[in-house]
Symmetry: C2
Subunit: 202 residues, 2 copies
């Protein structure tokens, strides 16, 4: 059985998104334009420098994400909407979306299919493990979803990408998660991000 991994980009004070998230500004107050420009600059502006870490983000064979990471924060869940990810999402594998709204699976180009799971994190993980076989399952975020998996003790490897800014408010990684012991696997600084990998100890 593969590992359950999780990659998440956070600020130096631990936020994965600021307040005032909306369809136009999915990251809310993010220190810039609300599209994640300061928070995700390491990804959008210095991809070559961070190639190894970026490749690992989509290396799993099944993925789980929160509802807000699939679609808009507010509003049109019931209108036709195939997510933020365009016609050919970068996953190329099944993606299980946690939601309270049942919906038919949504196949996309390139092998990605979004499945909608309405009965919680353990069920989503069971589906994803079955799909992944011996390969890894990745928890994609946002922080609210990651926190649920951490609180349930379901993540093996946590890969933080820490951007050099603080927000002071928003959705915070580790909020409501009981104390964890971690093993530091490694860390590396690039120009716009510190990559830190932890193994979550049981």
């Amino acid at each position: 059985m593969g590992k359950v991994t999780c990659d998440i980009t956070i600020t130096a004070d631990g936020y994965s998104a600021g307040h005032n998230q909306s369809e136009d500004r999915p990251f809310g107050d993010d220190g810039g334009d609300g599209r994640g420009d300061r928070l995700h600059a390491w990804f959008s502006e210095t991809a070559e420098e961070n190639k190894a870490e970026i490749e690992k983000i989509t290396a799993a064979k099944a993925f789980i994400m929160g509802r807000n990471m699939f679609g808009p924060v507010r509003g049109a869940w019931d209108r036709p909407w195939n997510g933020w990810w365009g016609e050919d999402p970068p996953y190329h594998a099944p993606v299980y979306v946690l939601t309270h709204h049942p919906r038919e699976p949504q196949p996309m180009d390139g092998g990605t299919t979004f499945h909608f799971v309405t009965d919680g994190v353990e069920s989503a993980l069971a589906h994803a493990r079955a799909a992944a076989g011996d390969a890894d399952v990745a928890i994609c975020g946002g922080a609210t979803t990651v926190n649920q998996f951490l609180a349930a003790g379901l993540i093996d490897e946590l890969r933080l990408h820490i951007s050099p800014l603080t927000l002071g408010a928003g959705t915070r990684l580790f909020d409501g998660v009981p104390p964890l012991r971690l093993e530091l696997v490694g860390a590396r600084a690039a120009s716009l991000v510190t990559h830190v990998t932890y193994r979550v100890l049981t």
Copy 2:
């Protein structure tokens, strides 16, 4: 004029101490025995591996610390007490302690003298700068004191030492500090800590 630096050890979720701090357990719920054993294991158990970073912590020529970092959290402020640091503190320079209680300067062995400042962070910094001359001034902590200096825009270089555990509650770095833009200077992982240095942008 030298830089204003700050070294602080925090958990992966940003806490410099847990709840329930007391004279016997100055770090409160710290993931271990309350003496900072999990939080500060990098310092106490792997000093040789982290020699370069440890030497920088006391390299400044004047220091500023919060009252709780000088003496016990509760109780006997008025009894004779020369601080947590023993007869020969590691500073070998003047240390300005922020407090509401006026007190005569307390000279110690090895060149450390504790001075007690009752009129706030800017005054403490003015004293420390005058004492340090062209050398650096260091803010020693705890997080409440660091947050005051960060909020006032008075720290140039922030050196985080991130220990591999989370606490979920306690005294948190960046609490109440308005959003900051940081420049990532560098990062290094040792076995029990990730060292991250930021320049605080104005």
